[in-house]
């Protein structure tokens, strides 16, 4: 399944990985990478660091629009389904209420709307992040295993126009990386 495997640069290396010792030094380093003009790079942390997205110069997530659309869509389709079933497919007189009793259809309309929004949020996140992706070159790095514990990393990828193996390693050291390695693809 092609979409489950990472797109990789055509070079021999995937990129350069630098490790930092604290959220504080990572934060500073990120703003320096941003200011140096790199575009294909990323930070890796065990937990979300408040304000780091600004230090990295990332755009706001657009997920909310998807969720709003799917939520409203879910609600609307639930209402239409109930109307169609109760008025056309299987009309029954229930406690003297009209076939189309919008009040009584409100609870399910709401529930399905929430369901649509929630599915949109979860699967939207996965789509935007290209997850699941069980294989990734970074996993080959032994040190990188600490990213889910107490390791803070910056990776600069090989297809960045400004990428060069030596220069990037030097740059990461300059901005405070305690350890730098090259990750092969």
């Amino acid at each position: 399944m092609a979409f489950l495997s990472p797109q990789l640069p055509s070079t021999e290396e995937y990129g350069v990985l630098g490790e930092f010792d604290s959220p504080r030094s990572l934060y500073r380093a990120c703003s320096q990478v941003r200011d140096a003009g790199y575009s294909r790079w990323d930070a890796h942390t065990p937990f979300p660091i408040h304000g780091l997205e600004r230090a990295m110069g990332l755009r706001d997530s657009r997920l909310a629009w998807l969720v709003l659309a799917l939520g409203l869509g879910g609600a609307a389709s639930a209402m239409v389904l109930q109307w169609w079933i109760s008025v056309h497919a299987y009309p029954l007189v229930i406690s003297g209420k009209p076939f189309y009793s919008w009040q009584a259809f409100e609870p399910e309309t709401f529930e399905i709307g929430i369901l649509g929004g929630a599915l949109g949020a979860v699967f939207g996140m996965m789509a935007f992040n290209k997850l699941p992706m069980w294989y990734h070159p970074l996993f080959a790095s032994k040190r990188f295993q600490r990213v889910t514990d107490d390791g803070f990393f910056i990776s600069i990828e090989a297809w960045d126009p400004k990428f060069d193996v030596e220069g990037c390693q030097k740059f990461l050291r300059e901005i405070g990386a305690t350890h730098v390695e090259v990750v092969l693809r």
Partner: protein, 396 residues
């Protein structure tokens, strides 16, 4: 940390805000004079209009009382710099005892049970509760409880402006819990007495919560407007910022949705069970052009603001949020009107100069009292120990 000695924390003498007590009083007196003239021959209509105006402004003051109590009960730091504005709103509560006088005087025109149950068997059963003496005694009790709590909290808070004692905060925190319990029952029974009893055959266990949700919509909309107006006039620029607007906007949004939840649940359960003695109350509100107002409330008090106030961008732009808040206040007024007025106009809303006069009378007095409280003390609790937390409020 901004410099608290800078100007902008007290109302400057000579400005229109400083004269607000007189302006308010002027409007109030004009409204009363107008009401007195217009009430000739329309006493019943006038009393209902007065009740609407009274409940509308009372709900804002009661919302303020609740907000202050909750800020203390939860030991919340973020809201400290806007707490004084809510305190000023609740400090007007004693005035409402005076504004209640026309209602007490004309209760016979408002409540069909006032002169006794007559032939009505149901009213005879309810007579131990619905009778003139007990009604007035209860009203007195509500005003005593509300005024005592409000004045005590406001005066302690003002005292802290000088001394900065932590013990004051501790004592208010300890008192806030029991006060909230008193609050819940007094507000519930006040709404039963003053709104539900207009239609004395009707009953709904949800009603107290319904009125309470309106109080909160009222106070949060009011606070946003007051904050915005003060800032445009050059006050509290450094101590109230985006984070406060955002949080208040969130609260306004949350309680607007809460109102819709309560309103829909009440309507829905009564609609579904379809018991005549209950549905009649809604039937009145779907009769004639009242159905238009019902629809306006559904759309205007919920549908439109649900989308308008959803966006964070809007909640952080004071001008836009103020527009939303003004709209919510208008809708809250429409809600109160919708609760009271079908009692006198059977076929549809009849908003006229009489209602404007009553609103001017009550609103002017409320505004004057609020303005008076506003200029007596600093605009924020300057020595509240949690003020720094509020000043650094970072919405994330």
């Amino acid at each position: 940390m901004p410099d608290l000695n800078q100007a902008g924390l007290t109302i400057t003498p000579g400005t229109w805000l400083y004269r607000l007590p007189w302006i308010g009083l002027g409007i109030g007196l004009a409204g009363m004079a107008g009401s007195a003239v217009l009430a000739q021959g329309h006493l019943q209509e006038f009393l209902h209009a007065w009740l609407v105006a009274f409940l509308f402004f009372l709900s804002i003051a009661l919302g303020g009382l609740f907000f202050v109590l909750v800020l203390f009960a939860t030991k919340a730091g973020w809201g400290v710099s806007i707490r004084r504005l809510a305190e000023n709103a609740m400090a007007t509560l004693p005035i409402f005892a005076l504004l209640f006088l026309p209602i007490a005087w004309g209760a016979g025109q408002l409540f069909s049970w006032w002169e006794g149950p007559g032939e009505d068997a149901l009213l005879a059963l309810k007579e131990p509760y619905l009778n003139a003496g007990f009604f007035l005694a209860r009203a007195a009790a509500y005003f005593i409880v509300w005024s005592a709590i409000a004045l005590w909290f406001a005066s302690r808070s003002a005292r802290q402006d000088d001394s900065g004692q932590h013990s004051i905060t501790r004592r208010l925190q300890a008192a806030s819990g029991p006060c909230l319990i008193l609050y819940a029952f007094t507000v519930t029974f006040a709404s039963i007495d003053w709104i539900m009893a207009l239609d004395p055959h009707w009953y709904s266990t949800m009603f107290g919560v319904y009125f309470f949700s309106g109080c909160l919509v009222g106070i949060f909309a009011f606070l946003v407007l007051v904050m915005g107006i003060l800032q445009e006039a050059g006050y509290v620029g450094q101590v109230i910022h985006k984070g406060h607007y955002h949080n208040l906007g969130m609260l306004l949004y949350a309680f607007m949705v809460f109102w819709a939840y309560i309103a829909f649940s009440q309507y829905f359960l009564i609609w579904y069970a379809n018991i005549p003695e209950e549905t009649i109350w809604y039937l009145h509100r779907m009769h004639g052009t009242w159905s238009n107002l019902s629809l306006i409330l559904a759309v205007g008090h919920f549908g439109v603001p649900f989308f308008f106030l959803m966006s964070r961008v809007i909640k952080e732009k004071p001008r836009l949020l103020m527009a939303g808040a003004a709209w919510m206040l208008l809708m809250h007024l429409a809600d109160i009107y919708w609760l009271v007025m079908p009692n006198v106009y059977a076929h549809g809303p009849h908003f006229g100069i009489l209602d404007v006069a009553a609103l001017a009378a009550v609103g002017g007095v409320f505004m004057g009292a609020f303005g008076w409280a506003l200029r007596r003390r600093a605009l924020i609790p300057v020595k509240d120990p949690r003020l720094p937390e509020s000043l650094q409020l970072d919405h994330a």
